[in-house]
């Protein structure tokens, strides 16, 4: 890794880190602040939810809305969190390699003794740092809001909340990983963005489809999104260790592949 490059890239991307990080944190706080009102009207809402078909409830995690943990994991970690981090991962991964190759500024970065491997590795670290930063802010936002706004009896345990954030981070470690691999393969920035976004959309969709219909249950085996189950973690039903381990492995594989591809391929600079 190259420190100068890392610092400058962090500086260049800081604005996005802050926007996505604070955006995500504020959203958690907002959703948390809505929960007391939600809990007061729990009965009415449960009546309402009964109308929704069972399968859809499963997909959206609505079956566990009765606790704060269930609520926040369904309403935030199952819905907006993947969208915010998905957009960030795809965008930033493209920005860090394909964009520089497409625009030609990579020629400068590759004009010194710093090797291609070092450059790709540094850029991967920038992406991972960004993800870590955003998830950290989300985690802090959730913890502080939970502490201040939610009754102790219904509040989510610190550990559980940490686990949701950890597996969430690892999922986007993977999404960032394949986006980064796509970015390292592409000469064209738009193509990189398009392919990575399409992949993410498909993986997310496969998980949804698998949850809604038991006929398509098997689809969940081919998407990393199924390894992240915030509602399950909140209710204590979901395994954490094995999915985390698998996500970490897939992520490492993707980043390593990206570095190797970037080292070996011809660059149109």
């Amino acid at each position: 890794m190259n420190i100068s490059l890392f610092n400058q890239m962090i500086k260049l991307n800081m604005k996005n880190f802050l926007i996505f990080g604070f955006g995500s944190a504020l959203y958690v706080v907002l959703m948390t602040s809505l929960y007391p009102m939600f809990a007061e009207n729990a009965e009415a809402i449960n009546e309402l939810i009964k109308i929704i078909p069972e399968t859809l409830k499963n997909a959206l995690g609505f079956d566990s809305l009765t606790s704060y943990g269930g609520f926040i994991s369904a309403e935030y970690f199952g819905l907006f969190f993947p969208i915010i981090l998905g957009v960030f991962s795809v965008m930033t991964a493209t920005q860090l390699l394909a964009h520089l190759v497409d625009k030609g500024s990579m020629a400068y970065l590759l004009s010194t003794k710093v090797s291609r491997t070092q450059i790709a590795f540094t850029q991967a670290l920038v992406l991972i740092s960004g993800l870590l930063f955003i998830v950290l802010l989300t985690f802090l936002g959730g913890i502080v809001a939970g502490e201040m706004l939610i009754d102790d009896q219904t509040s989510l345990e610190f550990n559980t909340f940490f686990h949701i954030c950890l597996v969430g981070f690892l999922l986007f470690f993977v999404v960032g990983g394949y986006s980064f691999l796509v970015s390292s393969l592409c000469n064209d920035e738009k193509k990189s963005l398009g392919i990575a976004a399409a992949l993410t959309f498909i993986f997310y969709g496969l998980d949804m489809a698998g949850k809604i219909s038991s006929d398509f249950e098997w689809l969940r085996n081919i998407t990393p999104f199924s390894l992240y189950n915030p509602s399950g973690i909140a209710s204590g039903d979901a395994e954490i260790f094995i999915p985390s381990f698998i996500l970490l492995g897939i992520g490492f594989f993707n980043y390593s592949a990206a570095v190797v591809v970037f080292k070996l391929r011809n660059l149109p600079l």
Binding site: K103, A107, R116
Partner: protein, 295 residues
């Protein structure tokens, strides 16, 4: 210092470079001449290790520029032909980033270059003119005191004053024994600094020659304005190659032998001489033509 041997890279559209071979000695300033699309930048990109040669090799300082690219680049200062910086940065931030990547600590040379080029480094890139960007590129290329300079069309975008500053810089570095390879599509631009030059056309090296030989080979066109219209007829009887005449202006083509022109013109009253700028192909037309004929 630089050895290029049989370098070949054909792109999917059939263009590219074919069997490019030449060497640049230590301490030499080597020009790389060719019209647009001839393959200058493509050759230079191979020197920087951006592409794997389909055939042949390029070696800098004993290191293969593809297989050991970071070693080969270590003592190189590179100025890309198409300048594109990282957006969202200003000149100084970029210069500092590059200094960091070059492992450069001493800021003396950097500041000296900024001053000589009259650069305002804190300007954001999006507000920079082409010439300013080129200056940033030159600072970055020269500031770490490289052994070898690889410059792709270094003076593009610079005004004549800055071109002069740039040429002085090159000559100073040359005096220190540094090696240069620089591309251009104008012979006039490299003739002041280069010892030797290669001419490339359609991806193939046409010739590698001393600058003096090339100067002799070049074909120049002058528009001579004569005071007396009748003299035009007289000049037509001489051995000079006359392309056309227009009123009292005679267009004369000269290659190599200037004495005949001077001798002939001394007989008349000349009121103006102007040189007609020509493309590289026109300057070396004879040379290109004979090559084609031989083929």
């Amino acid at each position: 210092m630089i050895q290029i041997q049989g370098l070949t890279q054909q792109f999917s559209n059939g263009r590219g470079i074919f069997d490019v071979t030449f060497e640049v000695e230590k301490g030499e300033v080597f020009g790389f001449l060719g019209p647009n699309g001839a393959g200058k930048s493509t050759t230079i990109r191979h020197l920087m290790g951006y592409m794997k040669p389909q055939k042949g090799t390029a070696i800098i300082h004993g290191f293969n520029t593809w297989e050991q690219q970071e070693k080969a680049r270590e003592k190189v200062g590179y100025l890309p032909g198409e300048i594109s910086f990282l957006d969202g940065m200003n000149g100084l931030e970029f210069i500092n980033l590059m200094a960091g990547m070059q492992g450069l600590k001493d800021k003396k040379r950097r500041n000296e270059l900024i001053e000589r080029l009259q650069l305002e480094p804190k300007t954001p890139f999006r507000k920079m003119s082409k010439g300013m960007k080129q200056k940033v590129g030159i600072v970055v290329t020269f500031m770490h005191n490289p052994e070898i300079y690889i410059l792709d069309e270094p003076t593009s975008g610079l005004d004549p004053l800055m071109q002069k500053v740039f040429i002085d810089l090159v000559l100073e570095e040359k005096a220190k024994g540094k090696t240069f390879i620089m591309s251009s599509h104008s012979f006039a631009e490299i003739e002041r600094t280069c010892d030797r030059a290669a001419i490339i056309k359609d991806g193939r090296i046409v010739t590698v020659k001393n600058i003096n030989d090339l100067q002799y080979m070049q074909r120049k066109i002058y528009d001579i304005t004569l005071e007396n219209k009748n003299d035009v007829e007289k000049i037509k009887e001489s051995n000079l190659i006359i392309e056309n005449t227009n009123d009292n202006v005679v267009r004369i083509v000269v290659q190599g032998d200037y004495n005949e022109l001077i001798e002939e013109l001394s007989k008349f009253n000349v009121i103006n001489i102007s040189i007609i700028s020509q493309s590289l192909e026109d300057i070396f037309m004879n040379y290109y033509d004979t090559k084609v004929a031989v083929k």
